[in-house]
Symmetry: C2
Subunit: 109 residues, 2 copies
DNA sequence: AAAGATTACTCTATCTGTCAAAGTAATAAT
DNA sequence: ATTATTACTTTGACAGATAGAGTAATCTTT
């Protein structure tokens, strides 16, 4: 398990990317993250919903209510065009960050 | 300039790496980070000294006073053997984190 | 039909890391 | 003398992450 402090700041990217693929609801996203990372990273529920609030406020995602199939009422999120531009920035930023950290980690093991 | 929020959690690694190379003092480290990253990342003073406190408490670095050549009294830090082991863990963690984030960023631009 | 498991979301209080701002103090340059 | 630079410290505030508790609907098991 990876410390979440180190993923901090990348949650926006991860969640936006998943919503870009298709509209998704919270619980689904949390499952998807666990699956794709083979449980090496799990987003905490409280964190996930905090991210949604932040992203909605920034107007990079929009919510709408879906079915109530098996369990609670699902709240779906879609990405806005502003969101697509934002994600694109985040991808560039990630490339930069990787370079910077690698600069200090290289030659070590 | 990279948002510092996204570097968060990697400061321990960066600083430990620089101290591993040789004993260093705060101001020197801050300059070194700016130089190596071509000013694309600058650690804030307050942050740097907060990191030192954290690392000392964890006993991964030790401090001693040096000269007073040109300016204030320098406080040098050296890495402990516990610190070397800790850094080694952080390097492994970085490899893991990179994989995880890349998983979500791949195919995008 | 009742009980428990699972799905799904919300809210509050707290913790940690980062940082702005302000301060102290010594030396070097003008 | 004054200003710039080097060097460290402290305080208070902020933002993101999270534990924990709560609400509610549906499915499974007995």
């Amino acid at each position: 398990m990876v410390r979440s402090d180190i993923i901090r700041g990348h949650l926006d990217s991860i969640i936006l990317r998943l919503i870009l693929e298709k509209d998704r609801y919270g619980y689904e996203i949390s499952q998807e993250i666990s699956n794709r990372t083979n449980n090496s990273f799990q987003i905490k529920e409280a964190t996930l919903y905090a991210v949604f609030q932040r992203l909605e406020k920034k107007e990079v995602i929009e919510a709408y209510y879906g079915d109530v199939s098996h369990g609670g009422k699902r709240k779906y999120y879609r990405i806005t065009s502003l969101g697509k531009a934002y994600l694109s920035e985040l991808v560039k930023e990630w490339a930069e960050v990787k370079e910077i950290i690698d600069l200090f980690m290289e030659g070590l093991e």
